[in-house]
């Protein structure tokens, strides 16, 4: 199908873009990579009166790693972020998660900031934002506000972005020493949204014992679901984890839905299996970072 008609704007400066968004309010959607928005337009699931294309706002292209922060501009594509070696060194989870986002050809055009504000409940990137307490930077004519981690998500397909605002960047804290991350998911077909998935971060102490552990699930509810698992895991040796209690606690806390692809109980079971795999990998990475480079 073809998209409905809309008024098209391609502002030449951020200021002009913000003025437009302020004027248009609810009637406007921002067009960046378009890899979620254009399918929704083509299928006529959305019909905004106006699109504000940020293609001329070159400053939003930037990807920077400085002062232990990875800053990703609104126009940075998944593919560019995935290939950035500096980003991968500062925050290995980003490259790992981006490799699971759709297909390489989609990643050539889709943007990471766009995927986060699209806030699909089965998408990997919102879970990564929630797990790592990344800041979503929202800019409007009224100024800049930052929304952190899970607070960036309000509901299924709904982020904290308000009418008149442009999501200009994401700011991820770089991973400190003795911390490890991993992401696991299961999808029915390569590149599809996952039936369930989880991103985890584990921090170990100087002796290689677990200090903190946190998981962010996706595809098992309307929003990323973050759970802290310090209780069952603290003090465990990173190379000999007993995950029974942690997995049990997570399964009890999850409240997935049935749908055409999987039952709620299957999803809950799967989420636990994926959590176990992710925790083992993250823990060994956390311990490895300590002794290695």
């Amino acid at each position: 199908m073809k998209p409905p008609a809309f008024a098209y704007h391609a502002p030449r400066s951020l200021e002009a873009g913000l003025d437009l968004l302020a004027d248009l309010g609810d009637d406007a959607k921002v067009l960046a990579g378009g890899q979620s928005l254009v399918p929704m337009l083509n299928m006529r699931l959305v019909a905004p009166a106006a699109l504000v294309d940020i293609r001329h706002l070159d400053d939003l292209d930037r990807i920077e790693v400085a002062d232990a922060v990875v800053r990703v501009g609104a126009r940075a594509t998944h593919a560019r972020l995935e290939r950035d070696d500096e980003v991968a060194a500062a925050l290995p989870l980003l490259r790992e998660a981006l490799g699971l986002v759709a297909h390489p050809v989609i990643r050539n055009r889709g943007t990471t900031v766009g995927a986060v504000v699209h806030a699909d409940p089965a998408s990997e990137l919102p879970a990564v934002v929630a797990l790592l307490d990344a800041d979503l930077v929202l800019t409007s004519t009224a100024g800049v506000r930052r929304v952190r981690g899970a607070d960036a998500f309000v509901g299924p397909l709904e982020s904290a972005l308000r009418p008149g605002e442009l999501a200009t960047a994401l700011e991820f804290p770089a991973l400190p020493p003795r911390a490890g991350t991993a992401i696991e998911e299961l999808a029915r077909r390569h590149g599809d949204y996952a039936l369930a998935g989880v991103a985890v971060r584990v921090d170990v102490d100087a002796d290689g014992h677990l200090d903190t552990a946190r998981a962010a699930f996706f595809g098992v509810g309307g929003m990323p679901f973050v759970i802290t698992l310090d209780g069952p895991l603290r003090g465990q040796p990173s190379d000999a984890l007993d995950l029974t209690d942690a997995v049990g606690e997570a399964r009890a806390a999850l409240d997935p839905d049935d749908d055409i692809h999987a039952t709620a109980s299957y999803r809950r079971h799967l989420a636990g299996v994926l959590l176990e795999r992710a925790l083992r990998r993250a823990a060994s990475r956390a311990a490895g970072r300590e002794v290695g480079t």
Partner: protein, 197 residues
């Protein structure tokens, strides 16, 4: 309701094209309807099938998920821009022929363009990497074994020649191995139909 028109100027397969189109004109339709370059195929129109894949400034993208107005000024390569001027097939096209990488041919333009982008990006890809890299293109004839073999063969050709798989083939440097001598083109896929004024 008359929609506002926007001037869009793009270089497609080396030739400059200009047309005035509504903002909602998908790049896939812009290529096919406005520029009459029907080699690019349209399957699902929501990014799943990959039939509409083209190269935008050297990167494979879905033309059905991109508006023509958004790529004003860009350089585009479609399947019509691959074979040499004399009709000699581009090594990726030749490999698809040699390896029986097409059956009905509907997915082929997208497969070929994805393969060109993939090989440029991963000149040393093994069979597993090729499967991963080509997974975004669907073939409803399910002729995947031939397609993957074709991408592997073409990868080898480019490793040997050092040429850029995203560029139009030049017949004088043709070192194609295997396939029969006669150039039969990819009739039925629309490839080669484009006029290049």
């Amino acid at each position: 309701m008359s929609e506002e028109l926007f001037e869009v100027t793009v270089t497609v397969n080396g030739a400059l094209h200009r047309a005035a189109v509504p903002a909602r004109r998908l790049l896939s339709d812009f290529l096919r309807h406005d520029l009459r370059l029907t080699g690019t195929h349209v399957g699902c129109e929501h990014g799943v099938c990959g039939a509409c894949t083209i190269l935008l400034d050297g990167l494979p993208i879905r033309s059905c998920l991109t508006f023509a107005v958004s790529v004003d000024g860009a350089a585009i390569t479609t399947v019509e821009g691959l074979a040499a001027e004399d009709g000699t097939l581009h090594p990726v096209q030749a490999a698809f022929q040699d390896c029986h990488g097409l059956q009905c041919g509907f997915c082929t333009p997208g497969m070929v363009m994805s393969a060109c982008g993939f090989i440029a990006d991963h000149p040393d890809a093994d069979a597993d990497a090729i499967r991963e890299g080509m997974a975004g293109n669907l073939c409803r004839c399910t002729g995947y074994a031939g397609i993957l073999a074709a991408v592997e063969q073409a990868g080898g050709t480019f490793r040997a020649s050092g040429a850029d798989p995203r560029e139009r083939h030049s017949a004088s440097t043709d070192e194609r191995s295997g396939g029969g001598g006669a150039v039969v083109g990819l009739e039925g896929t629309g490839a080669g139909l484009g006029d290049q004024e």
